[in-house]
């Protein structure tokens, strides 16, 4: 069986997720970290849709709508956190917040 469209889409989703993860891990600026998280969320959404189309099930699209709302909520909470972060540390560098160190 030759690869179908949805298989390519899954590969794209995996690459997107890896890029997003790399962004989260490598970036120190909170705003970029937030954008990377958005990328990962969207990668997950893409994976759901392509998996749904491959299996011929509507569940994947349902999940994507869930993820959209989740992403919206996450963006608003995340941006609020960014503002609070900036207020507290006068910077957007995540490494400057290390108060959990024992």
């Amino acid at each position: 069986m030759s690869p179908q469209f949805s298989d390519y889409a899954l590969v794209v989703a995996a690459v997107l997720f890896a890029l997003g993860l790399f962004g989260v891990l490598a970036r120190r600026n909170v705003v970029y970290v937030l954008i990377s998280v958005e990328v990962m969320l969207n990668a997950a959404g893409l994976a759901f849709i392509s998996a749904g189309s491959k299996l011929g099930q509507p569940d994947g699209q349902v999940m994507f709508i869930f993820i959209l709302t989740l992403a919206a909520a996450e963006a608003s909470v995340g941006l609020a956190l960014v503002i609070q972060f900036y207020r507290a540390y006068k910077t957007l560098d995540t490494d400057s917040a290390r108060e959990l160190k024992d």
Binding site: L25, A26, D102
Partner: protein, 631 residues
């Protein structure tokens, strides 16, 4: 009159309770009245009970009175019960009457002490405990009294507790006697596990029926009990505490460390004589312990310079005589010597107390002298006491009691000429030598310290009464070859197994008496030559090194203290020091600190950098997914 028996120990106990709770606020006179009065009343009650005991002997030869239950279990029960027979009555009479005289003396002797009331509280508690000890009808109650007198002895030795060395002496006395007590407790345990009772009469009956003479169990049991007896009575090898116990006030030494408590061991063996009859080997051991102790303590006494220590060693030595009497089966003789010894030794101590007080707390006899004229009453009473101690023939009570024991040592089944030779000849010689050494050095020669604090009536009266008893007490039991008087034996003899081969009289006995008497007189003469005549031969001797070495050895009580110090005290101290750091606890702590180290290492991972945490999450997720796919 028998109904008041329980009052005899209860009165001093009541005195103790009154004094200990209210004594601090009592005027001295009231405290003295309570303290002396309670013992006086107890003495009166004893006399009344004794009178009716003599006039109308109770059935079975003993008054029995059970006050109330104590422990009652299916496998063992004992009560607060008293049993008064002739032996007990003898002890009670000595305890209360001599005790009363000593209390009376103390009321003047201690009158300047700040804790006058406390002294009488302890003394009353002592008298009460001692009475419980001798009156108990079971060994548990006896053991209660036994521990009680040890406790009072501790407090009274350390009565002047501001002096650390007195405290050390008190502690030593308690610990050494406690070692003996534990041995005795184990003896009781053995008896219980064999006969399931602690009632003395019942126990003796069952033992006589159940144990074959000479078998292992009675030997072990009597040995363990002997351990208790040698501890309390300061016999070898536990005699080391008594000389140091002289740190206590002199009336204490007179009452506890001469007349009563130290003879508790003698009482114990006499009380359990039927048990010792089942273990002939141990009974012989009792005789040997007594003999060895009397000789060693006699030797040590010769080298002492502290008047009270001379008397302490002499007490050890005289109790050695009592043990010798017990060991050869002459129980009545041992008890007779106990009684007579209580009279003359209490007298000597009380007289010594006056001397020391009058010499400004000086204890060294070589710094005293010439007190014959300064303190005539004390001189004469001390002389009577010393004569009785030295067993000067015919006129002193000590002669009659000691003769009886020596006669037993000579002719009893397990006695023999050797026992007599060592105990009789050497012992008598040593005794009269050290007692008259004390007399000559203290009371003759030139007076070196002016006398002060002359004794008043309350101190003199007990001296006179005890002096009279030290002479007259002997005439109630006279060997048959001199005069057939045997009041004591007929009173107390029924309590004990018949003395072996007790046939008296004959030329042998007279010969032995003459030899012993002669030796006693030779001892006096030797003391005169050595310590009195002119400068005294003693001082010429003092120059030689050998003599000084021997003297130092004798002075130290023959080195026992030194051995015990290194063998036990230092070992215990070392163990305590070693363990103080909690060796065992450290091991447990090590587990804790190992965990802490691991925790610190892992704690480094918690850097606080959120990106590292995310790396962790990502790697973990990959690993989890990988594991799920792989497997």
């Amino acid at each position: 009159m028998y109904a008041i028996v329980w009052l005899i120990p209860a009165l001093p106990l009541a005195g103790f309770l009154l004094l200990v709770f209210l004594g601090r606020r009592m005027p001295r006179a009231v405290a003295a009245v309570v303290g002396v009065g309670s013992v006086g009343l107890a003495a009166l009650a004893t006399v009344l009970v004794g009178a009716s005991f003599l006039s109308a002997p109770p059935a079975g030869g003993a008054i029995e009175e059970r006050l109330f239950g104590w422990v009652s279990l299916p496998s063992l029960s004992f009560a607060f019960g008293f049993r008064v027979d002739a032996l007990t009555l003898t002890m009670m009479a000595v305890i209360t009457i001599v005790g009363f005289l000593i209390h009376l003396y103390s009321s003047e002797f201690m009158s300047r002490d700040g804790e006058f009331w406390l002294f009488f509280a302890y003394m009353n508690l002592f008298v009460s405990s001692m009475l419980v000890l001798v009156m108990a009808d079971n060994l548990a109650l006896l053991y209660l009294g036994w521990e009680g007198v040890g406790l009072c002895s501790y407090f009274l030795i350390g009565f002047w507790y501001r002096e650390p060395e007195y405290c050390v002496a008190a502690r030593k006395a308690f610990i050494v006697t406690r070692i003996g007590d534990v041995s005795m407790l184990l003896g009781l345990a053995l008896l219980v596990s064999s006969f399931a009772t602690l009632d003395i009469q019942e126990l003796l009956r069952r033992a006589a029926a159940g144990w074959a003479p000479g078998s292992a169990l009675p030997v072990v049991a009597t040995l363990l009990l002997l351990g208790g007896a040698v501890g309390k009575s300061a016999q070898l090898p536990l005699q080391v505490w008594l000389p140091d116990a002289m740190a206590g006030p002199t009336p204490v030494s007179a009452l506890i460390h001469a007349a009563t408590m130290v003879t508790a061991g003698v009482y114990l063996i006499a009380r359990l004589s039927a048990l010792y009859a089942l273990a002939p080997a141990v009974q012989s051991l009792v005789a040997i312990v007594g003999l060895a102790t009397l000789l060693l303590a006699g030797l040590a006494a010769i080298a002492q310079v502290d008047l009270k220590r001379i008397l302490a060693y002499s007490t050890i030595s005289q109790i050695g005589y009592m043990f010798l009497g017990l060991g050869v089966g002459f129980y009545s003789a041992a008890m007779f010597h106990f009684m007579v010894h209580a009279f003359f030794k209490a007298l000597l101590f009380l007289a010594a107390g006056v001397v020391i007080m009058a010499q400004g707390e000086e204890h060294n006899i070589f710094r005293m002298g010439g007190l014959r004229t300064a303190l005539p009453a004390v001189f004469w009473t001390f002389l009577i006491g010393a004569s009785s101690l030295a067993a000067l023939p015919l006129v002193t009570a000590g002669f009659y009691s000691k003769e009886w024991i020596l006669w037993g040592a000579w002719q009893a089944g397990r006695g023999g000429p050797l026992l007599w030779l060592l105990g009789g000849c050497l012992g008598v010689l040593l005794t009269s030598l050290y007692s008259f050494r004390a007399v000559f050095v203290t009371f003759f020669g030139d007076q070196k310290i002016r006398e002060s604090h002359l004794p008043g009536a309350r101190m003199k009266i007990p001296l006179v009464i005890l002096a009279a008893l030290s002479i007259l007490g002997g005439f109630i039991q006279i060997p048959s070859d001199i005069a057939p008087v045997s009041l004591f034996e007929s009173f107390i003899g029924g309590v004990f197994p018949k003395a072996p081969g007790a046939a008296e009289g004959g030329s042998t006995q007279i010969l032995l008496q003459v030899v012993a008497s002669a030796l006693s007189l030779i001892g006096v003469l030797a003391a005169y030559v050595l310590y009195r005549r002119g400068v005294g031969a003693h001082e010429r001797l003092a120059d030689s090194d050998a003599y000084r070495g021997v003297r130092r050895f004798l002075f130290s009580g023959l080195g026992f203290d030194w051995v015990y110090k290194w063998a036990f005290v230092k070992t215990f101290d070392c163990a305590a020091k070693l363990l103080k750091g909690e060796v065992v606890g450290r091991a447990a702590d090590a587990i804790g600190s190992a965990n802490a180290a691991i925790g610190r290492a892992l704690g480094a991972l918690q850097s606080g950098r959120i990106r590292w945490y995310l790396v962790g999450i990502a790697l973990g997720a990959v690993a989890a997914v990988g594991a799920a796919v792989w497997l």
